[in-house]
Subunit: 109 residues, 4 copies
């Protein structure tokens, strides 16, 4: 079963700067053979269910291993059986309707 | 690694009444040997990481098997290494500070 | 427009024990004239859109005022126009299908 | 109070193709004077608290107005009082640690 997911991992009790932990998790995700897309509030993932969730587990283990005593994660998970769909296709199906590129850095109109 | 999680599973393209799907997922969760607590916006889960995520996967498989072509799930996941904590303890640590039972059905003050 | 929501507020950079902040937010929510239901991973809310979101904003202001430099919140929001539905009705529609009370403390079967 | 948020709006009971609704919401967000960044699982928003939440409310009103009887939305909300931070800065703080551009379309390593 294929998954398109969005992961936000928040270390708790590890201070106010989270970027060292986020960067370490990002390395884990990128070495897991998944399609990954980092964004301002999380990381989009595309891959097989088991590979995606194994990578999420490794992120928790890695961030705890760096000293964070507590982690709060939010995961959005999308699966579908009617047809195969990639993250690029999800984006372009909306772009086509609006007639413009939506992923340029930080549009405002 | 132990997890306390909150699962909300939303079938898409399966009509406006979601309770048949939610009930089927609830059965899966309750047969998985997890601590489960159903609430108005999801189901709280407590158990070992692998058992929790295996049950979530079975929910997706079950709900797709019932005919829902698409599923959107939100999962909140909490882990901690500083100490063991149960769902009951999470609730009572806040109740103690407020000096009242917070889980009575639908308090308003 | 009526809303049924689920709020999880996570103070960041405020140590590992979050219960003082969660309790303060809970007081804000309960004084806002909303239906509230505390659970192990958040607080369910039912009320008018503007009242719900005004209370969420006051929670952020209150928790920052207590010294938390950073807050991460997850909000699930449900609205519907086909019919009125309460949190109790959402729960009982699933309970009816399963023939049992699902909100007893921490069922396992 | 400034907010960086991530919005995912899921129409329920409106069929399996959600892109017409997502595109309409996107138009609302882009006409609201917010910084917006569309991605494969939602839309990142940056702006004043009241402007962000007014736009989210208009999205619900717009999507219900198009005929969707029910909507489920997930919102991640970040606020901080220790310093001002933009979405670009959130991204670059992680990119600096990894020594690479993370927002190129769908990296895999």
């Amino acid at each position: 079963m294929k998954v398109i997911a969005d992961l936000t991992l928040v270390p708790i009790g590890a201070g106010v700067s989270l970027s060292p932990y986020v960067a370490a998790c990002e390395k884990v995700l990128r070495s897991a053979g998944l399609k990954v897309q980092f964004h301002a509030n999380g990381t989009n993932l595309e891959g097989d269910w088991d590979a995606v969730f194994a990578a999420v587990k490794r992120c928790h283990e890695t961030v705890h291993g760096m000293g964070a005593p507590r982690i709060f994660t939010v995961l959005k998970i999308g699966t579908r059986t009617d047809r195969d769909q990639s993250m690029e296709e999800k984006i372009s199906s909306v772009e086509k309707r609006l007639g413009k590129d939506l992923t340029g850095r930080l549009g405002r109109e």
